[in-house]
């Protein structure tokens, strides 16, 4: 899997859906980009509806919390999200499966 996206299409501090199948979201905190799977494992709410504060992504449905940097579920350990690898190029990002 390889998704190419332009950096200018990713605003700072917003959760953006970049793929629907598999569903992947990306977040730019102003310094770094993070890509993780975009569906909450609890009740399948779309995670782009959630909010990010520091490195915690909170699902809009029932408040499950994830570490945006690695996808780990901090409110319910073991129920994490898949994290994706991001390769930065000059104007684009390439999102791929982790090694």
């Amino acid at each position: 899997m390889e998704i190419i996206i332009k950096k200018k299409d990713i605003p700072i501090n917003e959760l953006i859906e970049i793929s629907t199948n598999p569903k992947i979201i990306i977040f730019n905190n102003g310094e770094k980009y993070f890509a993780i799977s975009g569906i909450c494992p609890h009740a399948k709410w779309p995670l782009e509806m959630g909010k990010v504060k520091e490195k915690t992504l909170t699902c809009a449905g029932h408040g499950w919390e994830f570490d945006i940097t690695n996808g780990k579920c901090t409110s319910n350990p073991g129920r994490g999200l898949r994290a994706y690898k991001i390769i930065k190029e000059e104007e684009t990002l390439i999102i791929t499966d982790c090694d």
Binding site: H42, T58, R79
Partner: protein
């Protein structure tokens, strides 16, 4: 068509010809003599509308399924519930003497008459059983979320049903952080965060379902027993309905009107609200609970004094109970992976260590005594432990009562442990982990 709100998650819905009551908890306390509904004065049996045609119960938590209220209803009235993976809830209703209990498959509409159709909606959770309800008549559609944490697709389907009125949960029903040994500062921080998350959830549910009118309900209870008055402290996970209303109004979304309803208030399908009581809000909750506490204290003490005491055999019963449920569930053990210090506090109590670590595969899983390397610490009145190990009291109900103390190391939720206590039936547990392990 109109709906009468009867406190907590209880609604009475009346069409031209029929009446259905949902989640009837109206009188008395629940959760081991601890919770009361948000009412200025305690309800009496006269407040229970027993002349109904149907009852729907969303799940088995006592603030939805309460024996003291249900015993007032004729046992021939049909009770509808969601078809859950296990039949434990179905059997609990039969134990109360009801003769006609009907399980509805999730999202399969059931026509009760020419003018009344109900659709039960199961929660997506693997481990815990709950449901919401959609009620349709010729005059309109009403949605009752009850406590159900719904999947996103179900919300879109409820939206497609175009409900006129929606009742939405706005508060957690949980013992975290109140039962845990946090500093006041840490407890307040956790409580505020949880409340904000839950109220955000309310706003998002309303925004997706888009009823014409929304009512915030199934919120926090009052804790009027004098030993628990501090749980009504203003900074709490248990909010009041003015808080989600304010949060909704801050979104400037005018498509849905939020109605503040007090217990016994009514609302027609066209949104005409008839006030019968003053609602309990964040501004008057403390005064209300203090008044209620004075009113019901003697009754509540009588109830607590009648709870009985632990037997002299409790030691052996604790050891047998936990050895059985831990040894029978190796899949759960693997995921729980912790040591639990259980203190059964009081007469005939004692200290026990439950070894539920993943490497422990045989031998005794329970020993008497203390350990310093616990991951979970629970101090529970011995007579309540007695009821739980005798299967007379659900552990969840006991935990919800907040009549115990807990601690965690590391400080994190272990859903696998709570799930084991929720229902240790090995077939249920095994089925859950077959799915869980595919998911993760």
């Amino acid at each position: 068509m109109f709906t009468k709100f009867l406190g907590q998650a209880c609604t009475l819905i009346e069409t031209k010809n029929e009446r259905i009551i949902v989640d009837p908890w109206i009188v008395g306390p629940c959760n081991v003599n601890s919770w009361y509904t948000l009412r200025n004065k305690a309800a009496t049996r006269k407040n229970i509308p027993t002349d109904v045609d149907y009852i729907y119960i969303s799940h088995e938590h006592q603030d939805h399924f309460q024996e003291e209220t249900l015993k007032e209803f004729n046992k021939n009235i049909p009770i509808y519930i969601c078809k859950f993976p296990t039949d434990r809830f179905y059997n609990e209703i039969l134990k109360l003497g009801f003769k006609n209990v009907v399980e509805l498959p999730s999202w399969k509409p059931e026509k009760l008459s020419n003018d009344l159709e109900i659709t039960s909606i199961k929660n997506p959770d693997l481990m815990f059983e709950d449901s919401a309800l959609l009620i349709k008549s010729d005059q309109g559609t009403i949605f009752c979320q009850t406590d159900c944490k719904m999947d996103f697709n179900s919300l879109k389907k409820v939206n497609a049903a175009k409900p006129d009125i929606g009742f939405f949960m706005y508060s957690v029903a949980n013992w975290y952080p109140d039962a845990y040994n946090y500093s006041q500062e840490k407890r307040d921080e956790i409580a505020m965060k949880r409340k904000v998350n839950k109220i955000n959830g309310f706003v998002n549910y309303v925004d997706i379902i888009k009823p014409k009118y929304a009512i915030a309900y199934a919120g926090g209870p009052l804790f009027p027993h004098k030993s628990q008055l501090k749980l009504n402290y203003p900074i709490t996970v248990f909010g009041c309905p003015d808080e989600p209303k304010k949060a909704w109004e801050n979104t400037n979304n005018s498509k849905t009107e939020i109605i503040l309803m007090a217990a016994d208030d009514e609302i027609t399908i066209n949104g005409k609200h008839t006030k019968c009581n003053e609602p309990i809000l964040s501004t008057n909750k403390i005064d209300a609970v203090n008044e209620l506490s004075l009113e019901i204290q003697d009754d509540l003490n009588r109830r607590r004094n009648g709870e009985g005491e632990a037997s002299s055999k409790l030691h052996n019963e604790i050891i047998d109970y936990f050895n059985k449920i831990i040894s029978e569930n190796p899949n759960a053990r693997k995921h729980i992976d912790m040591k639990v210090q259980l203190i059964a506090d009081g007469k005939n109590g004692g200290d026990f260590v439950l070894d539920i670590s993943k490497d422990k595969e045989s031998g005794t899983f329970v020993t008497e005594g203390k350990t310093n390397d616990w991951n979970y610490w629970m101090k529970i009145p011995a007579h309540l432990v007695q009821k739980a190990v005798n299967n007379e009291l659900l552990w969840e109900t006991l935990f919800l009562s907040a009549r115990w103390q807990g601690d965690r190391n590391p400080d994190q939720w272990n859903e696998h442990f709570i799930n084991l206590l929720y229902d240790p039936d090995p077939t249920r547990i095994s089925n859950i982990y077959k799915i869980y392990e595919k998911m993760h």
